[in-house]
């Protein structure tokens, strides 16, 4: 263990890394978590042995580096995941991992969320700053040094957990070769401002072996975290963080996801000439800008909003569409046993259905789910039946079950995988019929969970429920499943049932045993609010609607909430649609709704067009609107 000495602390980091007080105790020499050499003996608690590492090659370590005089950034560790989690968390100071002295947790809340946030920062650091671990040239070293800065100052958030190696030889080497003539000064500044633990914390810095354990665990994606750390307390704040898993997933989905799969299958998109570029689609539909009610809606230069359909009824709860964009469905607020509606845009009719609400379409254009007295699962061919005039859900293309709960979302596994449905804790969202002045509540408790249902296609039978499983998602709800079934996103509950943002989780299923099991570790957290999101078919984007409040005044171009011109928004309310880049968290507002107008329930079709519903306070008619914003915003 190396003692940090003589370096004053001035930490310029994101809020979750801000250190409080930080004059805490130094781990004692017998602290199994942080002492060198014999400090982590193999004992009955299974503590790590720092002299027993088995280096294995990987992308982040180069044996050649030794021969070229470049110190290793880290030495890979072959310890199994479960044991590695305990070792790493013990180093970090987690009592549940056997640590007897505080360390990082002297200043930081050592929670699952904190660890995952650090992991997100670390992933970003590896992809953006620590880009040449072999330090192949002085120029490369200089680039990395420059990247460690946030503005003019070195920033812990730029190096993530790797800040714990600030005083190890690799970083010194980088500054020596990339820090210019005053590299020593630069390096000292880096250690002082970005190195962890902070100098005034009184805690020793890590040695190389300890850092190797930490680095290995974070690079593996912090496996086993939930098995070692206890459940987090109720969140009170939101700290954004996006792990590298998000971009990696998006890159994979770009070629393997349902957007591509629908292109492969020749899925014909509504309003498009076969084979035509999506940007040319829906060109004959009326531009919202040419209507009296939608003249002010456009907000993103170069994009167009088009009105696809206008109902003669008020819809109930959310609206969703088929992958090809031909069918749009929702509940209808009508006095009838047929309270479901399937709008066939091709035939320009709204087909009544003997159900209630909550449509969800499979991303391969093969079928859909709708709720009535039970969950109906039907093949898409039902909707393409010529002259279809009503849907009873007793048709041969439909099955039903009581397993899929309300507020469900569905997905289809890629490459011949099974179909999935997710549901769980939810808050109803049916705003915009009357003034709605805030996003839906999020009264999700510590016992909130998310339920997955596996639907298997059985010959001659249709969709059969073949297993369910739940995961604990405390203080989260309104789960939405990505088209592939490999991501879910939840709304997070904060104090008073107010939303704190969204949590994105990567989903994997273990189907090898007798019972279905799921894991869904957090891979990103977004700290803005809105309703239930929807993923794009390439899973690189999501869209949300957000009920406007006082905090939105400036974004809308007003001087503030007290601006007299904003007063009507405060009384009539409004909702806009936002497009979110999942890999960066960048958010773009797509609409400029007027007071009393609510752009709600946005969702994608397979080619990237975004559909949403527009409700207007006091009016029965609603509009189904399409936006081509993704093609401009997404490049």
């Amino acid at each position: 263990m190396q003692q940090r000495a003589g370096l004053a602390l001035a930490l310029g980091v994101s809020s979750s890394l801000a250190i409080v007080g930080c004059g805490g105790p130094t781990p004692s020499s017998d602290d199994a978590a942080v002492t060198p050499d014999a400090a982590m003996p193999m004992g009955t608690d299974g503590g790590p042995r720092v002299d027993a590492f088995t280096p294995v090659p990987d992308a982040y370590a180069s044996p050649d580096a030794y021969f070229e005089g470049v110190p290793p950034f880290r030495n890979p560790v072959a310890t199994p995941d479960a044991e590695l989690a305990r070792q790493a968390l013990r180093i970090l100071g987690a009592p549940s991992a056997g640590a007897t002295e505080v360390y990082c947790n002297d200043c930081h809340g050592l929670t699952r969320q904190t660890i995952r946030h650090w992991r997100a920062l670390s992933d970003t650091a590896l992809s953006e700053c620590l880009t040449d671990l072999e330090v192949s040239s002085d120029a490369s070293a200089a680039d990395m040094v420059a990247c460690f800065r946030n503005g003019d100052v070195y920033d812990t958030s730029r190096v993530g957990i790797f800040s714990t190696a600030a005083e190890l030889s690799w970083f010194e080497y980088v500054f020596r070769h990339g820090g210019g003539t005053a590299w020593e000064t630069e390096y000292a500044a880096f250690v002082e401002r970005a190195g962890m633990p902070a100098a005034d914390s009184g805690h020793p810095t890590l040695d190389q072996a300890q850092f190797d354990i930490l680095a290995e665990w974070f690079i593996r994606g912090v496996p086993g975290l939930d098995d070692v750390l206890p459940e987090d307390p109720a969140p009170t704040t939101c700290t954004p963080g996006i792990s590298a898993d998000v971009a990696a997933h998006g890159a994979r989905m770009a070629t393997m996801g349902w957007a591509q799969r629908n292109r492969d299958a020749g899925t014909l998109m509504f309003g498009c000439a076969p084979g035509a570029a999506p940007t040319t689609c829906l060109a004959t539909e009326e531009r919202a800008a040419d209507t009296t009610y939608g003249a002010e809606w456009d907000v993103v230069a170069g994009t167009t909003l088009r009105v696809l359909y206008t109902t003669d009824y008020r819809s109930a709860y959310w609206t969703r569409s088929s992958a090809d964009g031909r069918f749009v469905s929702h509940g209808a607020a009508v006095m009838s046993a047929q309270r479901g509606r399937f709008i066939d845009l091709q035939r320009d009719v709204a087909i009544p259905a003997s159900g209630n609400y909550d449509p969800s379409f499979f991303p391969d254009n093969s079928g859909f789910v709708f709720h009535g007295s039970r969950a109906y699962v039907c093949e898409q061919s039902l909707l393409t039946t010529p002259s279809l005039s009503t849907i009873t859900f007793t048709e041969s293309q439909c099955t039903n079950n009581r397993t899929i709960g309300l507020y469900e979302h569905v997905a289809a596994g890629l490459m011949g995988g099974d179909y999935w449905s997710v549901d769980g804790s939810f808050v109803s969202d049916d705003g915009g019929h009357d003034p709605t002045l805030d996003d839906p509540m999020t009264d999700f408790g510590s016992d909130s969970d998310t339920d997955f249902t596996r639907l298997v296609n059985v010959a001659d039978e249709g969709f059969r429920v073949m297993g369910t499983t739940s995961i604990s998602t405390p203080f989260e709800g309104d789960a939405v499943l990505a088209p592939s079934g490999e991501l879910i996103i939840n709304r997070i509950s904060g104090p008073g049932g107010r939303q704190l943002g969204y949590v994105l989780r990567g989903v994997s299923f273990d189907t090898s045993g007798p019972t279905l099991r799921a894991e869904a570790p957090e891979i990103a957290r977004y700290c803005f609010n809105g309703g239930k999101p929807a993923f794009s078919f390439d899973e690189q984007w999501m869209v949300i609607h957000h009920y406007l409040g006082a905090a939105d005044a400036v974004d809308l171009g007003f001087t503030g909430a007290s601006d007299p011109a904003f007063a009507e928004y405060l009384s009539q309310g409004a909702a806009n649609v936002y497009l979110v880049n999942l890999a960066t968290g960048a958010r773009t507002r797509l609409t400029n709704m007027q007071p009393g107008q609510y752009a709600l329930f946005p969702h994608f079709r397979a080619d990237g067009w975004i559909y949403f519903t527009v409700r207007t306070v006091g009016q029965r008619a609603e509009h189904i609107v399409a936006s081509d914003a993704l093609f401009t915003v997404g490049g």
Binding site: A254, T255, Q260, R261, R263, D264, A265, G266, L268, G271, C272, A273, P274, G275, Q346, D364, S366, G367, E379, S381, T384, P386, S396, Q397, A412, G413, L414, M415, G416, G417, D418, Y419, V456, N457, V458, A459, D460, E461, G462, F463, M466, G467, T511, P514
Partner: protein, 563 residues
């Protein structure tokens, strides 16, 4: 259809002739060288199609129709012909692309076209004919269809997102035979190239029937015609080629025509014990002759090299032209309806006892329904055809209908898996099937070619050598023919089906289950002929099963909005 294979099978001693023509020297003939609804989840995509290559040809037997009476009156001969067809359907074929599995091959039928293939090909062909022809629902030219079939394996190259690197990675992922077997996807219905080509050619008729009034059961009209051969030609000047022989029934006629240069001549010769006999027609460009008989068709190039296509068509006096197709399916058409059973989650495969006592028990209970099975099994991939999709889902091929258009009412074959495959309906399995290796020796088979059973012997001629088969056949022997698959024909009443009776109603607005149970309108469990107008020539899957008609209609609708 494969020209070479046709000739090789029908005329083993007469390979294609080289002919030197008059005017170019003395001519010298040298040594002749019933689907139910299902839910499909994983199609054979464009990447898979490129790996597979073009659909493997089905080697149709152009003389099988000459044996119609023999096949109708002899269960033994019928079953032998069926096993022969099965061997051709299952014959292993090489993949077009090299994969990590050295020497990887697929059964021929797994290379054939599914709904998604048809969709891609139809979109390609329809986009290419222009707005005016689309508005008029003009038929595709023969050359346009040929180009489309040939384009299919290359479709992936024109789809955004398929980079060479992605394709290479895709192929690299095909690391074992189960993955290779998954290349064909898991759609229920697949079609030989000739069948798929005919679907494309009939798009206007199919979609008109889908959205219009369904055809009447009885109509008067011209006899149906269908293609016996569609053969690309490349003949050097002063030379020729001979195709055939082709069987033409009494009352039927054969027409041969060539799209080629003006001085092309076409001749039709009688078959004389399998050798080229008397010339009965000799004209430019086209010839027509009356049956009965077997005929060779000869094409000769003039002073210029000849490049074109030979089309041989036959009229069918026993059939009227199908309302919902451009013509009857061609002789090389084969349709497959597969029944896949999931093999994961500990799911076991139901099994069906088809021995004589079991069949008697089933028929005696009066429901004419196969039921849930007589037990279950957990066969491995050495005894049942098994594939694993890339996501890990594993499926077993429990049964499959194989229908070939070599006969007027099709050669209707069905196969089902059995844990004791060498008894009753598997007892006469020939060496040609056993030679294919595992798992094809685990399937039993029945066949029907007509509404009625004309073999007077209930045991089908197997009493002496295959007693278990003889006994089982005796249990199902009736005045109507019988053939039913316990997995595919699971709906109530279909136990006593015969394929032919059910398939006559395809696109006739009646579902198989309805036909089997409505004894007033469809007597004898639907086995009796109740219409002369078979609008879809017996192919159910235009508006049922994989709903192939719907994908055609969707493309028309999309273009209608543009055109």
């Amino acid at each position: 259809m494969s020209r070479a294979s046709l000739v090789a099978r029908a005329l083993p001693v007469l390979p294609v002739l080289g002919v030197v023509l008059g005017g170019c020297g003395r001519p010298s003939v040298e040594a002749p060288s019933c689907e139910e609804l299902g839910v499909a989840i994983e199609a054979s995509g464009p990447g898979e199609r490129r790996v597979i290559g073009e659909a493997a040809p089905y080697e149709a037997d152009a003389m099988l129709a000459s044996r119609t009476n023999e096949l109708a009156t002899s269960q033994r001969a019928r079953r032998a012909a069926a096993w022969s067809a099965v061997a051709r359907v299952l014959a292993p074929v090489e993949l077009a692309e090299r994969t990590p599995v050295e020497g990887a091959r697929l059964p021929a039928f797994r290379t054939w076209h599914d709904r998604d293939d048809v969709n891609r090909m139809f979109q390609h062909a329809y986009a290419g004919i222009g707005a005016e022809r689309r508005r008029a629902r003009s038929p595709f030219a023969s050359a346009e269809l040929d180009e489309t079939i040939a384009w299919s394996p290359r479709a992936v190259d024109s789809i955004e997102g398929w980079t060479p690197e992605r394709f290479e990675a895709f192929v690299g992922g095909l690391h074992d035979q189960r993955a290779i077997d998954a290349l064909g996807g898991i759609r229920r219905v697949s079609m030989s190239s000739d069948a798929a080509r005919h679907v494309l050619a009939s798009y206007a008729e199919i979609t008109r029937c889908l959205d219009g009034e369904r055809p009447l059961p009885f109509v008067d009209g011209p006899p149906a015609t269908r293609s016996l051969a569609h053969v690309p030609l490349a003949i050097t000047r002063c030379h020729g080629t001979i195709e055939g022989p082709f069987f033409v029934a009494s009352g039927a006629s054969l027409r041969a025509s060539v799209e080629a240069a003006a001085d092309t001549r076409i001749s039709v010769h009688r078959s004389d014990d399998g050798l080229v006999g008397d010339t009965v027609c000799d004209h430019e460009a086209a010839c027509e002759v009356e049956g009965p008989g077997a005929f060779f068709v000869e094409v000769r190039a003039g002073a210029e090299d000849l490049a074109g296509t030979l089309d041989v068509e036959v009229s069918e006096p026993s059939r009227v032209a199908p309302d919902c197709l451009a013509a009857s399916f061609p002789m090389g058409a084969v349709t497959i309806a597969a029944h896949w059973e999931r093999a994961d989650f500990g799911l076991r495969l139901p099994i069906f006892d088809t021995s004589a006592p079991a069949m008697r028990r089933r028929f005696d209970d009066g429901t004419f329904t196969w039921g849930a099975g007589d037990g279950d099994a957990d066969p491995d991939d050495t005894s049942i055809y098994t594939m694993t999709l890339p996501a890990g889902a594993t499926y077993r091929l429990a049964g499959m209908h194989v229908r070939t258009r070599e006969l007027d009412h099709w050669l209707n074959i069905t196969l089902w898996w059995s844990p004791d495959p060498d008894t009753d309906f598997g007892a006469d399995r020939p060496a040609s099937i056993e030679a294919l290796g595992a798992p094809w020796g685990s399937y039993k088979m029945c066949v029907a070619i007509d509404f009625d059973e004309h073999d007077p012997d209930p045991s089908g001629g197997f009493a002496e050598d295959e007693p278990t088969l003889a006994a089982a056949l005796a249990e199902v022997h009736d005045t109507q023919s019988w053939c039913s698959n316990p997995y595919i024909d699971a709906a109530p009443g279909l136990l006593r089906g015969n394929c032919v009776g059910c398939h006559q109603h395809a696109m006739g607005e009646r579902a198989p289950g309805e036909i089997a149970l409505d004894e007033i309108r469809f007597p004898n469990g639907g086995r009796t002929r109740t219409r002369n107008n078979e609008p879809a020539d017996g192919f159910w899957s235009f508006d049922a099963g994989d709903d192939i008609g719907a994908v055609l209609r969707d493309t028309l609708t999309a273009w209608d909005a543009v055109d």
